[in-house]
Structures are given as C-alpha cells and as structure tokens.
C-alpha cells in the first residue's frame, strides 16, 4: 500500500528518468534516477546523470563522441540505436536500460 502520497511527491516522481545498468564492470545492477522537467536528448541526459548522480555515463559509454558498439541501450524497451542514439529524445518517466555483455557464459 502506498502511504503519504501527496501531489508534490507524485509530480517529483513523474519527472524521473530511471536508468539501469547491466553487465558494466563496477556498475552491474546499478540503478539510479535522473530528474528532468522536459524532454532532452540522450547526450544531454548523460551530462545530467553526471551532475545528479556522479555516474559518468559519458566515460562509460562514449568513445570519440559516439556510443561504443559493445553497449546495447534500450529506451522503454526499444533499441535506442533505432531512435538516433545520442539524439534520441528522453522524456520524464522514461526507463533506460544500458547493457553490456559480461563475458558470454
């Protein structure tokens, strides 16, 4: 049962983008939220993630300004490479799952 639900809390929750990391050395099963007011490009979200959570997604994901091929990112269950990669639009309430194969058992 949800207790102490108030409109302000709801508004704050709805601003959150959920980020989950799988298979990334040092960050496997890591999850955190980023608060945004309006839709932003994924490249912008990477910067906000570092400001708000100290997780440097740019350091993890990017090489020469592009997402490294070994990462597989899903935005609300859909492949981000089909949505423009760094240009993909991320909205409040979205879920991003960032995957990398651990070792291939």
């Amino acid at each position: 049962m949800i207790k102490d639900l108030n409109p302000e809390t709801c508004r704050e929750v709805l601003k959150l983008v959920k980020i989950k990391l799988f298979g990334i050395p040092g960050f496997h099963l890591n999850r955190f939220n980023i608060s945004i007011e309006n839709p932003v490009a994924f490249s912008e979200l990477i910067k906000l993630a570092f400001e708000q959570s100290s997780v440097d997604l740019g350091e993890i994901l990017l090489k020469d300004g592009k997402i490294e091929k070994k990462y597989f990112i899903l935005l609300n269950g859909k492949r981000i490479d089909e949505m423009g990669n760094l240009e993909a639009s991320i909205s409040p309430g979205d879920t991003l799952i960032i995957n990398r194969m651990l070792l291939g058992g």
């Binding site: 298979g23 050395p25 496997h28 597989f72 269950g77 990398r100 070792l103 291939g104 058992g105």
Partner: protein, 621 residues
C-alpha cells in the same frame, strides 16, 4: 621416458578388468599438448570408421592438460573425448571442478576406457593404483546419492568423483557425466559411459609433476593470475556469474527465444532480477584456487518448485528453461536445471528438445496420445519437471525426446525438421547468430556441432568487441566491424577458433582468456613447465592442428560441407521481439561466409582439407 610437466596414461580394459600404465610420446604431446588435442590424436588413431558410439568399440578418454591443476589459472578442468552418440561425429565434453587436478595427482594425465564391463562397476584410482568396485547398488541413484555413497564406501570425503546419473544408465543420447555439481554436459558422454557399464570414477592422489624451470614457471603463473584477478571482467563474473549475462544477451538479440523464433524476449532483466534476489545464495569457485569464481550456489526456498541449496544456475541452463520455452517462472527454471543435473541430463539439449516438442504439438505433429496425455504449451512451468524425468528414464514420450531433436524429427516426420534446431545433430545453445554473424560461422563449423563452448568467441568478437590479443596474428579489429557484417567473418573465425580452442587443449578454463590470459601466457607457462620453449606462433599452430584433426575425424565419419550448416530458422529475421524489424539480423549469404572460412582454413570448396595444409600441420598420411 617421462616427459617433464606430464604424468602417465592409464588404459583400462573393462571387458577383463585389466589395466595398463603407458608412457606418453613426447612428439605427440608437443604437437597436441593434451585435452581435446591429445584426445583427437588418440581417437583418430585408435577408433575405426563407422563404429557404434554405444558399442564396445568406442573409447572414452578422460584428458587433462599441462595447465590442469589447483595452482593454475583455470586449472580445474577435465575434458572427455569420444565418438558422440548424439551426432555420430567428434565428441568432447568439458567439466570444471576438482576432478581434473585430482586425477593428475594420481600420476595419470589421461585415462582411456575400452570395452564394456559385464556388470556395473566404478573405479577408484589412487597414486598409480586402480581398483574395480562393484556398482549394482548404485544403479538408479541420482548424482548426489551416487557421489555420497562412493565417498562413504571409500571412507574419504576428499576424493573427487565423476559419475553418470539414471539418464546415462539409460543411454539418453545427451546424458552427462557429472563432476558433482558441474557437468560434462554435451554430446552424450554419459551415454557412452553408461554403455560401458561404468557408473563412476573416484580419484585421490598425492603426486606432483616435475617442472623444468620452477622459478620461471611460478613467475609465469603468478603474473597470469594477477592479470586475471585484476580484470574488470573477472570481477563482473565473480559478482554475477554467467547468468548475469541474461539481460545483456536479451537486449543485444543474443537470447534464442521460443525455439529460436526470436533472438530476444524482453524478459531477461526481470528474470535475472528474480534470480539475483530470490535464488542466489552466494558465488562459488568450481575448483579450489580459481581466480574468477563464476559458479553460483542457488536454491528455491518454497512453493511447488522448492529446491535445496545446490551448485548451478548457469546462463545456458537457465536460458534453456526460460527463453527457449517462454517460461517466466525462474523458480521453475532453477528446479529444472537441478533435476537435470541430478538425473544426468544435458540442460541445453533437454530444453531444446522440449521446445521442439511443444512446437510439434502446437502444429499438430504430436497429439496427447503421443505425449502420454500431456498438453504441451509454451510458458507452462508445470509440465517441465515431469518431462525431464521422462527423458532421463526414457519413459513413454521421454524415450523419443531422449534421442535428441534430429532423430526425433526423423521419427515424427512431416515438417517437424523445421522445428529441430541443431547443427550436426547437436541442439543449439543460448546464443543467437542473429546478434552477430561470426557466431553463424562458428556454429556451422564447430567440430561437435551447435555447441556453447567453441562458438562463443564469435559472439564475444562481434557483440562484445573483444579481440583476445589476436590482432597481431591477423584478426581484424572488432571495432572496425559491424556485428551484422558478413564479409570478413569467415577469416576472423578461423583465427578465433585456432586461439580459443587452446584452453580445452591445455586443460584449463576458457574464461581465463575472457579475463585477459593471452597466447603469450600459454606459451610461457607451458614452456617453463616442459622445457619445450614453444613460441606463441607454435601455440596457435597447435590450435589449428587440433581443429583440423577433429575435422579429419568427422570427414572419416561421413560429415562434409552439407553438415556445416545453420538451421533455416536461425538465418531468418526474428518473428517477434526487439529485432523483428531489423533486416540486418537475418543471415543473407551463409554459403559465402563458409567459402571465405574454408579458404582461410586451406580447405577445399567441398570442405575437405587440402594436402598442403595437412603437410603443414603434420597430419598427412
């Protein structure tokens, strides 16, 4: 004369319970090192073409290698080589655990079983002595029960055992030989052991091999261990095991789902989270001294799939009882893998066979009359434990599935062959070549069929962008290739295979190479151990030699280009999931990739080996 770094070979004649201790041939050891390399040499030389894999003429070789040992990187390893009853071709099966190191401590690196015992027996091997023991009382027992009884009878809890379960006794064609909680799972090693009336082997020893340059050797082992221990991949493996790959493989389209109708499901994240939160007890080293520790201790606390604490929960096994079958009940999957391991059934082939059966049933090729009244449905966890027991006991409908999908499809007829996902008769594992095309070539050409060991390097190359330090040896940088490119993958796979077969030749775990162990490390350790001073190039040539000899074994058994194939479904764009509209997923010209691979290998267009290549590798004549 004894070879430094090696022990001896024990040959066991089960017909008359005689044994013979044999010295190893230095030329053969240098050329083939051990494990599946030495196994290929022995079985190619000693088996006649066309023998019955379940007859007395087949041989079962337990093989360690120079890197097998508790102090070695990945040295908890044993390879078993034989003619496969599942495929009719080259058979090998590997298990982790302490058995390999403990076998070496008896003074024997290799044990060859010949003939057939009149009555069920098990063997107890100690420091160069062998004891045959009656085993009728072990018939029908599970792996845990057999292992417990043997340790009790021998009054020594520290012995290591490998034994077959009821499925091996019934010669289920994909039955396993279990090293307690670990499986030599694929190709039907358990059936061959069962056909010989050999139920178990127990070992305990105190011997050590002689090391040529002890200080250099220790230094090489220490530095390799350090690299592995400090690898971030090693840390990831220790923390999340192989099952931690499920979300990643699902998202990258590397998770065969619903009998390969798709390469992704979208449930991987949720399923793994359940596993991690509810089933995982703790990580586990499969053998004493492992620098990685990818094993898991798992359980199901309560409910209809309640399962005791046990070693298990591997990526392949869990995938076979979730995605293959659209089963969303992780507790059920854990329970099913436990049942398979206790009964001695290969989890991958069992999951594949059940998926095949469900699809046949769905399409009217099987009815309730055929299935002993069981309604086969996707995603129904309740039918799975019963089906596993039927397969293990060859009871009713289980007797058909115990033959594997290739033979089962031949018996069912109609278009059931479309649903039988295999290469060379071996059911496909839980990685999908629609995630990256190198995997298509490795599946099509691997010596034992569509297995989960030798093709993995293709997937790691394409999707993981791992080069294994092979760029100086001609491998194209994976960062320069798209995973869905087809051109160049045949050439890449040739180099990847030659290098990545080496752990199975040298007698250690392949995951060490995933965690940073290089060809130079192999070279330095083996050279300081034996005094041979093998260069990196020679080591790589050994891998090539071994794979070509396994190819010769298969060619002699009648395999050829027509067996280097992928099931049609696996080449098609997925029917659902994340990649259902991704045309690049589909395999457009497998023939062209195969031709490129053959050319890189020095094979003819028909898939046989050019004379020049045979000479180059010392395999002529």
């Amino acid at each position: 004369m004894a070879i430094k770094g090696y022990g001896k070979q024990l040959r066991i004649f089960l017909n008359n319970k005689e044994t013979r201790v044999e010295e190893l041939d230095e030329k053969i050891m240098r050329d083939f090192l051990g494990g599946v390399g030495y196994g290929a040499r022995v079985l190619y030389d000693e088996l006649e073409k066309g023998i019955d894999p379940l007859g007395e003429d087949n041989k079962l070789l337990f093989a360690t290698g120079p890197l097998t040992g508790n102090n070695m990187p990945g040295g908890g390893s044993i390879e078993i080589c034989f003619k496969s009853p599942l495929t009719g071709g080259w058979g090998e099966s590997r298990s982790g655990g302490n058995f390999g190191p403990d076998l070496r401590k008896t003074g024997f690196d290799f044990v060859i079983f010949e003939g057939k015992s009149e009555k069920p027996v098990y063997l107890y091997i100690t420091d160069e002595t062998v004891e045959f023991r009656a085993a009728e009382h072990l018939l029908g027992l599970t792996i845990e029960e057999k292992t417990g009884k043997i340790k009790e009878e021998l009054a020594d809890p520290r012995i290591s055992t490998m034994c077959i379960g009821p499925a091996g006794e019934k010669q289920v064609l994909y039955s396993t030989i279990m090293c307690e909680g670990r499986a030599a799972g694929r190709a039907g090693a358990g059936a061959v052991m069962g056909s010989k009336n050999l139920l178990a082997i127990a070992v305990r020893g105190n011997k050590k091999v002689e090391i040529t340059e002890p200080e250099r050797f220790s230094s090489a082992v220490r530095s390799t261990m350090k690299v592995i221990r400090e690898s971030p991949d090693s840390a990831g493996f220790k923390e999340h095991g192989t099952t931690g790959d499920i979300p990643g493989c699902d998202s990258m389209g590397d998770w065969p789902t619903k009998n390969w109708q798709s390469n992704s499901w979208g449930k991987g994240e949720v399923l793994y989270e359940h596993f991690h939160a509810k089933n995982l007890v703790r990580p586990n080293d499969c053998y004493t001294g492992c620098p990685v520790g990818c094993g898991r201790i798992i359980k199901v606390d309560d409910g209809k799939f309640k399962t005791p604490v046990h070693e298990g929960g591997e990526y392949e096994s869990i995938s076979a009882f979730t995605a293959f079958l659209l089963n969303e009940d992780m507790d059920c999957a854990v329970h099913c893998t436990y049942l398979c391991n206790q009964l001695g059934v290969d989890t991958i082939s069992a999951g594949g066979a059940i998926a095949f059966a469900i699809e046949c049933y769905e399409n009217g090729l099987l009815s309730k009359e055929d299935t002993d009244g069981i309604e086969l449905k996707w995603g129904d966890p309740d039918i799975l434990p019963g089906l596993i027991k039927k397969i293990a006991g060859r009871e009713g409908f289980g007797n058909l599935l115990a033959e594997g999908v290739k033979k089962a499809a031949e018996r069912i007829g109609g278009n059931s062959g479309e649903y039988a996902i295999h290469t060379k008769g071996m059911e496909g594992p839980a990685h999908d070549p629609r995630s990256g095309k190198a995997l298509a070539v490795t599946y099509g050409t691997a010596s034992r069929g569509m297995c989960h060991i030798h093709p993995l390097e293709g997937m790691l190359y394409d999707s993981g962008k791992v080069d294994f330090g092979l760029i100086p040896f001609g491998l194209e940088d994976p960062e320069n290739c798209d995973r869905w490119d087809e051109e160049g993958k045949g050439r890449a796979v040739k180099i990847l295979q030659d290098a990545l077969v080496l752990p199975d030749v040298a007698g250690n775990c392949k995951f060490m190479m995933y965690c940073g162990m290089t060809l130079a490390d192999f070279s330095e350790i083996i050279s300081s151990l034996t005094g041979w001073n093998l260069s990196v190039e020679e080591i790589l040539k050994t891998g090539e030699r071994v794979l070509n000899l396994q190819r010769l074994f298969n060619l002699r058994e009648g395999f050829g280009k027509s067996d280097d194939i992928l099931p049609k479904r696996v080449t098609e764009v997925p029917r659902f999931g994340l990649y259902s509209e991704e045309e690049r997923c589909g395999i457009k010209d497998f023939e062209k990739m195969l031709a490129e691979y053959y050319q890189a290998r020095g094979w003819t267009e028909a898939g046989s080996i050019e004379e020049g290549k045979l000479k180059e590798l010392g395999l002529e004549g």
